[in-house]
Amino acid sequence: MPKVIRIKKGLDIKLKGNPERIIIQAEPSEFYAVKPPDYPGLSPLPKLSIKIGSEVKTGSPLFYDKYKPDILFTSPVSGKVVAVNRGERRRILEVVIESDQKNEAITFQKGDPKTMNREEIVNNLLKSGVWPFIRQRPFHIIADPNDDPRTIFISGFDTAPLAPDLDFILNGDEISFQTGIDALSQLTSGKIHIGVNAVFPIADVFTKTEGVELHYFRGPHPTGNVGVQINHIDPVKKGEVVWTINPQDVVVIGKIFEKGVFNPTRLVALTGSEVLKPRYYRTKLGASVKPLLKDNVKEGNNRYISGNVLTGSKISKEGFIGFYDSQVTVIPEGDHYEFLGWALPGLKKFSGSRTFFSFLTSNNRYTLHTNLQGGRRAFVLTGQYEKVLPMDIYPVQLLKAILVEDIDLMENLGIYEVAEEDFALCEYVCTSKTEVQSILRSGFELMQKELG
């Protein structure tokens, strides 16, 4: 057995609605959307390459950031642009495409990436719109094609609540995964590391792939977070850049080189306590969740989330699957009052602490809702964040450095090493109900501005 990195800190939030390992071919969605807010670091007002009414093919560019015009964001289907939905200050929230169900696609360069040079590969990824799958640390933003990253990290498993089983999702895509890895390995002079879950037998897709180095992890969430794995394998130092990518997206990249087209098909796990039959659906990136939810959700006021309950984004029940997501979660809204809720024994409440009697029944799964469960306060308790953050970082001190906008201190305390998802559990457990993830993002934005 190879060396296993055991992680003790963290917390598994046991929710109801784990997906069964059954794959269902989802009904094709009528509408698809590409959502600028999905991409951290992208300008809120990207330049549109299309107008309402424009015909697009799969892989047609929809918009780009004016400061990084090479990185294109493309359509996952062929059809017609029917809406550009805007939010406050005219920021673009969604570019909506009505599918013509024909799947006409723009073709890109085919070929074995091993025989192609870096420029050709980068070009292919940029043009087809899959480049944004590659994100970088520091700051967890879309990678810069001109960088030579020190290493590329991939987490081969997801430990978030109700997360899809990536071994299951990737089953059968071994060849495309290898092709994708071949392409990625041309982009870095360093290694490609994959973190795998040592608890289960490792899937073929990881063990049989060449050109990667495997690292074995075992532990509660956030062990599956790539940032935590990087921190244990080789932390990001000042001045360095490392890239990260999800394994499902490596497959999409592989398919570009195999087929010459952008194939946004993917398995999405429909999860959560309010889903009648939580299962895996074969659908496409950006697809509306409407066909998935049809006759499959409990009545009532629900929260629909693209992604998991810790880091996902809120969508409507006809909303669209996010660019980086392989999971849709439905949980009840918590917009009700609870009489003396803070004083009750709390057998049905879940807490990372042992302050509710539910800790006696540790194997229960819970239906948790979206209530904030308390008022916002100053930082009072200490040691809470540290219990769920398995990184060599002082989380509260880093957040305070961000709040007082002390650039040097942020740097010294390791802001280059973290992403919002790594701190999501801190936000979950926070007794003072601090908005940890958005504070962190504001720190990233400030650093980017200062560093130019």
């Binding site: 932390p235 609870e338 803070w342 007794t431």
Partner: protein
């Protein structure tokens, strides 16, 4: 509960902006959220949040202190009846103590919460729950005969100067309850030290049997009256004179178990403070230049306010060290200083309060060096 909710919803507009009782908005909000967990949902970040909130946290600390309070009430009656030579049942002792202690609790809460509510309204904040604990701890660390107006004054001082001027709960440097006690200790020493103040009625001397001494074990030890020292078992059980809630180590340990089991109190601080006290006690055993230095080191842990301080005071998360490594150092030094002050300085037989306040002041410095070490490590990595 629906009718209650309806009633709250009905009167709510009067307390909102533009309503008749706009000035009581924070107060209303505090009571409303006391009765009902609000219906606010998450808007950004994590969609679900832990069920633990500040109210739950504070109520658990209060629950942990309840055994000490109940024992303290009984002991108040017991000590009083002992001093006048009366036989009394457990129940009679408790009722006597209950009636003596309750006013102190009421005064502490009314004054403290009154100030908190007013400040929250001025600042436009929600009322912070921090005082629920401070207000409960203050009565436990004063002698039972302390005049109520002094309690009121000390509480006001602690809340305003000790806490609110720094920005309220979470921002204060000194533990508010200990600040109140320190205020009394230095402003009214006649009511806070000596041999006659620890037992109800002893100061006035009415009906006290001849030759009865109300001195605490610490006072006896400091005076070298070792033959007057109660037995180890009595000190552990708490049937001795002292501040209302500090005497019973057993009751305090029950609280410690609750705090540690729930994860609200830091076991690291409690353990390291006990270790610090022991180490200092052992050092004194080695020096042994006076009889007080010769008492068994572990006796320090069950005398005076050591146990209470270690479990309820030093563990206050706001004023203690905030880093995990810092907590070990902080607690250990607090233990060392407590015993050091207690044995070396005859003017202050109770060193625990001063030791913890001193370490409160040094806690940020300890944290600073712990964090510097992390920063240094990161810098070294960047260079390699």
């Amino acid at each position: 509960m629906k009718s209650l909710r309806k009633f709250v919803d009905k009167i709510k507009p009067h307390f909102s902006k533009g309503g008749k009782f706009e000035k009581l908005h924070s107060t209303f909000e505090a009571f409303e959220s006391f009765l009902f967990v609000p219906n606010r949902v998450t808007t950004k970040g994590a969609h679900i949040r832990d069920a633990l909130d500040m109210k739950r946290t504070m109520i658990i600390v209060v629950a942990a202190a309840v055994p000490a309070l109940l024992f303290g009430m009984w002991n108040t009656g017991y000590q009083h009846n002992l001093s006048i030579g009366m036989e009394a049942t457990i129940w009679e002792n408790f009722v006597f103590g209950f009636l003596k202690v309750l006013p102190i609790i009421v005064v502490s809460y009314v004054v403290g919460l009154g100030i908190e509510f007013a400040v929250a309204q001025i600042r436009g904040h929600e009322v912070n729950e921090g005082f629920l604990v401070s207000g409960f701890l203050i009565p436990l660390i004063v002698p039972v005969d302390v005049p109520l107006w002094m309690v009121a004054l000390a509480t006001a001082f602690a809340v305003i100067i000790g806490k609110e001027v720094f920005g309220g709960t979470g921002m204060n440097i000194l533990n508010p309850a200990l600040t109140a006690r320190a205020f009394l200790f230095f402003a009214y020493p006649g009511w806070m030290s000596g041999d006659t103040i620890w037992i109800q009625g002893l100061k006035s001397g009415e009906g006290v049997i001849d030759g009865f001494s109300g001195a605490t074990p610490l006072a006896n030890a400091a005076a070298g009256l070792f033959e007057n020292l109660p037995s180890t078992w009595e000190m552990f059980l708490g049937t001795i004179p002292g501040s209302i809630g500090e005497t019973s180590v057993i009751a305090i340990l029950i609280g410690a178990v609750i705090l540690i089991a729930t994860g609200i109190g830091s076991w690291k601080i409690m353990l390291s403070m006990a270790a610090g006290g022991l180490v200092m006690g052992l050092l004194f055993n080695l020096i042994a230049s006076n009889p007080f230095m010769e008492i068994p080191a572990w006796h320090h842990l069950i005398m005076g306010g050591f146990a209470f301080g270690a479990v309820f005071m030093a563990t206050d998360p706001v004023t203690a060290a905030q880093t995990e490594r810092g907590k070990w150092i902080y607690g250990f030094l607090a233990g060392i200083f407590a015993v050091l002050i207690r044995v070396i300085n005859p003017a202050y037989p109770e060193g625990v309060m001063l030791a913890i306040l001193l370490m409160n002041v040094f806690a940020p410095l300890i944290d600073h060096y712990v964090i510097e070490a992390n920063i240094k490590k990161r810098r070294l990595r960047a260079k390699s």
